[in-house]
């Protein structure tokens, strides 16, 4: 039985796509900008596209920062998507730099290539190399849809769940640590492979 999934609406991006994908896999879904609703949530999704500093500013001005940290520390599963994954880390260089949620140790930096004509953002489908075994959400080395200019650099290699390759650049495509997951790609835009991840997340057992 899938549990209820709460999408954190911090006014960044394509929330509707995420909401419709969750509804499609048969889970109950709600969107909220209310810290009280977040504190009562069973599972959290931190979606998002856009710029890191704007995202963090919105999370703070909507008073969501403490609620998210409290819930995650209490063991509530959280899935960060794209910018939402990057926000899990400690700091990003994007647009002058800003501190993130700090739930996963590490930095977010711009993709750098030895090829000066590398196109950015990296937009398109990329096959993952899953580096952790027996992960509850991501087990298959499938193709997923990416749109990003920055990449996460977790401090601990143990937080890296999957890697991707764009031309000569190897990047961290997914992170996991205890009850925290982050996907640099968009599961909601990655056809069946992406829906399978959202389904697995919705079906994670609840902490009793």
């Amino acid at each position: 039985m899938p549990s209820k999934v709460t999408i954190i609406d911090y006014h960044c991006g394509n929330l509707k796509s995420v909401e419709q994908a969750i509804a499609h896999i048969g889970a109950e879904v709600e969107m909220t900008s209310d810290p009280e609703v977040i504190l009562a949530a069973e599972k959290l999704i931190l979606p998002g596209v856009g710029a890191f500093p704007v995202g963090m500013e919105n999370i703070k001005s909507l008073n969501l920062f403490d609620a998210i940290i409290t819930k995650v520390n209490a063991g509530t599963p959280i899935l960060g998507i794209c910018l939402g994954m990057q926000l899990l880390l400690e700091h990003s260089d994007e647009h002058g730099g800003a501190d993130g949620l700090g739930l996963i140790k590490g930095q977010v930096k711009k993709i750098v290539s030895t090829n000066p004509s590398l196109k950015l953002p990296h937009i398109g489908w990329c096959k993952l190399e899953v580096v952790k075994e027996n992960d509850a959400l991501l087990s298959q080395a499938d193709y997923f849809y990416f749109v990003h200019t920055y990449m996460a650099l977790p401090e601990n290699e143990s937080a890296v769940l999957a890697k991707g390759q764009y031309e000569d650049v190897e990047f961290c495509a997914a992170v996991s640590q205890d009850n925290i997951w982050g996907m640099q790609f968009h599961p909601e835009n990655s056809a069946d492979a992406g829906l399978a991840i959202l389904k697995a997340f919705a079906e994670l057992p609840l902490k009793s």
Binding site: H24, G50, K119
Partner: protein
């Protein structure tokens, strides 16, 4: 390595999928959702919806279509036509669009590119450029679905939109569009080599060899296909298995996945 995207482009007028030649002489083909659902099942990488008459009437009528489409289709959806403000873009994102494509309003007010990019991120802004070749070998940008000239040079405009914060360029050759005579390779190459954001080539695909030339020779990052798919002359599997046979990396569709 990078995977070349194969994108289905659906031009829409009112409730109907349409197809023209040189963006004109529009013919009704049917319900756009039936077509997009079919392409999704076949393994297309993205969908582009363009409201063909929106900028004439100053509004985009795709909201309903986008909302219904995004309920059943879980790949990126780009929506263009008649977007004049940040609020117009927001309305489409709220309906389930992942990116918006701007042309007419961006030429009139380039600052709109930056405004939408700041609010929703660069990746959410696709600039649609409708290009027509000039006698001197350059290209001029047109607006209102290929109807109005602007005097703006395509190559300079492409450079400018990148600087203003566009995440991608959808480059349509008006001369080739709907003709099945192949892409304007010089146009695609000139723009793709110049900018460091991805370029989607659109207009003119009539054979699998055209696809190869557009990617291998003209360096397109993605290819938009309309006529060949809508008239069922090629399937998504035809295009992807051909690409793989030519060592052009693509996301394989499930039947082709190893």
């Amino acid at each position: 390595m990078r995977n070349t995207r194969v994108i289905a482009r659906l031009d829409v007028k009112g409730p109907n999928l349409i197809k023209g030649i040189h963006l004109e002489g529009l013919r009704v083909l049917g319900d756009p959702q039936v077509f997009s659902q079919d392409y999704f099942q076949q393994g297309i990488d993205e969908i582009i919806y363009m409201d063909a008459v929106a900028s004439l009437y100053g509004r985009n009528s795709l909201t309903d279509i986008v909302e219904k489409t995004s309920k059943n289709i879980f790949i990126p959806i780009t929506v263009g036509g008649g977007i004049r403000s940040v609020d117009d873009a927001w309305g489409l994102f709220r309906s389930g669009a992942d990116k918006v494509a701007l042309n007419t309003a961006a030429i009139a007010n380039p600052d709109l590119i930056t405004q939408i990019a700041k609010r929703f991120g660069n990746q959410a802004v696709v600039i649609s450029i409708e290009a027509k070749a000039k006698a001197d070998g350059s290209w001029e940008a047109y607006v209102d679905n290929g109807r109005e000239k602007t005097g703006v040079d395509v190559v300079e405009w492409a450079k400018k939109v990148e600087a203003l914060g566009a995440g991608e360029i959808l480059l349509t050759s008006i001369d080739k569009e709907g003709t099945q005579k192949g892409f304007d390779l010089d146009l695609v190459r000139s723009v793709s080599k110049l900018v460091s954001i991805p370029v989607i080539a659109s207009g003119g695909m009539g054979s699998l060899e055209d696809f190869d030339a557009c990617v291998t020779d003209a360096s397109a990052d993605a290819v938009a296909v309309a006529h060949m798919l809508h008239y069922k002359k090629l399937s998504v599997a035809d295009i992807k298995s051909y690409a793989m046979s030519k060592d052009i990396p693509v996301r394989p569709i499930s039947e082709l996945a190893s």
